[in-house]
Subunit: 452 residues, 2 copies
Amino acid sequence: MTDRQTNFLLTDLYQLAMMQAYNEAGESATAVFEFFVRKLPEGRNFLVAAGLEQALSFLENLRPSDDDLAWLDQSGHFSRELIDQLRSFRFTGDVDAMVEGTVFFPDEPILRVTAPLPQAQYVETRLINLLHFQTLIASKAARMVLAAEGRMLVDFGLRRAHGAEAGLLAARASYIAGFAGSANVLAEREFGVPAFGTMAHSFVQAFDSEAAAFEAFAKARPENLVLLIDTYDTEAGARRVVEIAPKLRAMGITIRAVRLDSGDLGALAKSVRRILDAGGCGEVTIFASGGLDETEIARFLAMGAPIDGFGVGTSLTTSSDAPALDCAYKLQEYAGQARRKRSEGKATWPGRKQVWRRFDDAGRMAGDTVTTKGDPQGGTPLLEPVMRAGQRLSPAPSLSESRSHAAQAVASLPQALRGIEQAEPYKVEISASLRALADEVDRFIDRSAKRN
Amino acid sequence: MTDRQTNFLLTDLYQLAMMQAYNEAGESATAVFEFFVRKLPEGRNFLVAAGLEQALSFLENLRPSDDDLAWLDQSGHFSRELIDQLRSFRFTGDVDAMVEGTVFFPDEPILRVTAPLPQAQYVETRLINLLHFQTLIASKAARMVLAAEGRMLVDFGLRRAHGAEAGLLAARASYIAGFAGSANVLAEREFGVPAFGTMAHSFVQAFDSEAAAFEAFAKARPENLVLLIDTYDTEAGARRVVEIAPKLRAMGITIRAVRLDSGDLGALAKSVRRILDAGGCGEVTIFASGGLDETEIARFLAMGAPIDGFGVGTSLTTSSDAPALDCAYKLQEYAGQARRKRSEGKATWPGRKQVWRRFDDAGRMAGDTVTTKGDPQGGTPLLEPVMRAGQRLSPAPSLSESRSHAAQAVASLPQALRGIEQAEPYKVEISASLRALADEVDRFIDRSAKRN
């Protein structure tokens, strides 16, 4: 089996078709593409950039293997010339980007590629694939973190994530956004995302009684013991915990938490809390899971449900309310001339851009300006150089650095944007210089339309 | 980088925790788990099973590498005994399943695993991950195929699919469901899904004029030439096609199609058709893309839009209206005793099951019965043996066999279920023997609850 996630052929056929056409037409001047989101999903207030690390790794390592070239050759899709040219394919361009964990908004580029046109074009499909997904998940996870107000969140969503890579990168992106960790073991191995785990209903079912299952699990896994108590009847399960706790204590085993995974979790948490407290298990915390999302989490907190942590699965790893962002990677300049797509409803701002962010005296975000590169505005520029001539400028930040950056970014959001309800949009201005450039490009397009 | 999609550690931490506990408790009798969907997504009438091939390949090849074991050992999560036991881990169980492309409904198991408990439990996470995703996409794609009424459909969704594997497996699953192919090159290489491609807006923008871009592309890619005409103005783009067609014809190049990717596609298709026909380009077909789903496709057909094929991206590869299925892999029997989860709202039917499907005289599906295995009902049994003692019973069907099977299955759906609107649910009965078994399991659970 080919290694899918690093394969040169993980792309759209038209990227290779266009490369052949660019090469034959001699179009290999410097092109500038930018990746941005066109609009926020409904109900959302902000986005969190993620995936840059995987994007840069992709660009650094992108080259066809001999097998890839042999397959391309026999596929009959492309000319022998293209295949020969691909033998020396490397990405030699520049990248400027917002660091992972940065909060951003529609029309703000989070990544710019500057490279010979055939290269800059070719990388489009996988670059979008990588930046889109982690940004999608980090943006969703940040809402959950805000809703949970400091309670622990754990990613339980590998099973319904869309494949292996989605499960892994969702664990990474949600950790950047403030999750405590993930159930995904490979995410701990590959990214250092702390792995968490409890037990499944099937474990309880495999034993003749719930008590026997709890004791067997406790003996085998005495550290960080979490017992799942809803397999048959949640309140009866809580009473069972109270019954076996002294016996476990005598063996030196502490029950850390119980997990509820079904039913009316808010109401059950209250009755389970009462049962545990009355039974001398006041130190046992309550962990809830099962179809949760940020709306449910906020509802539990509003009703005062005594829940100490949440396992979130499907709604996180599929970003279920908005499983895709309306994003694009668009040509903004070619051979020194700014470019612009004018397709109905999809027009783009042309040229190389920078995003400047202003803060108020309390350190809260006070407004952004998108402008042409080299037209400084007040505040802090968000895009910074990260790759030159195909080489990274510095080692990748650690995941915990990206996580801190995200925490800081989310903390600086205006209060209204921190709610899970849709608020007044954050103010993103388009500068005069960018508007002037767009007009200039329009005049160029109109002239060339007349020329034809 | 580890190969993510075949990694032994691509699982939830609790699977390893439970394995350690099962081993220490000596619980390794035969367990039976079944994978099923609990309920249809809103607005849906049926599901299409897919992913069995990847699931079987996963089971056949599942074993930890030395690196995996070394990492597990130093992770500190598990006992040395578990790590030693994992050295010889193989899946040695049996699998019965519905073949890929089979239409199915809630409460009908599509796959059953029969294996020693630690194995049967361990495979849960990745089995769900694989079966869920392809079933999700095949089910979504089948609706698009029905809506398109024979028009060509192509998967354009790699860029917004959730990672590499999602893009690849979505291409495979949608092909099984009747798509003509995918833009994804690696899907052709890995699965033989035919690759299709046109050109991007950036190609048009890179040239000084749309006409120059069209000519450069036509010269480089004269076969199956499709021109993208909406970069600046769709109707002007169509007129450009009419203007350059004679010149290209003189060079022996035929324009096969134009692609529209923005604006009011239905109305634009009508005006573009008129421009092409009036300009002697009646043989040039119209291909539409850009934010399409089955509802849009049905709307275009209803309004008589002259569109000959559709490229479908995000809504397909993310199953945007329902990015996850409410599915589960549940313990149904252990050590010869049927088991049942009774959690609120998540109760399951116990024991090993079979699904029988009846057909009317016209070959249309007339009702299913879910029953205990070994209780034959009228019609055709849908679950069949596919793996015994860890070995496949026969070579995997080819992708085109699975595709034919899906076409036949969808063709045999009752007419009402073939619409994209929600219809009266298909009739799935629970047999008397299965109800009796559930009652028996309940009595067993209640007895053991009293015992404690």
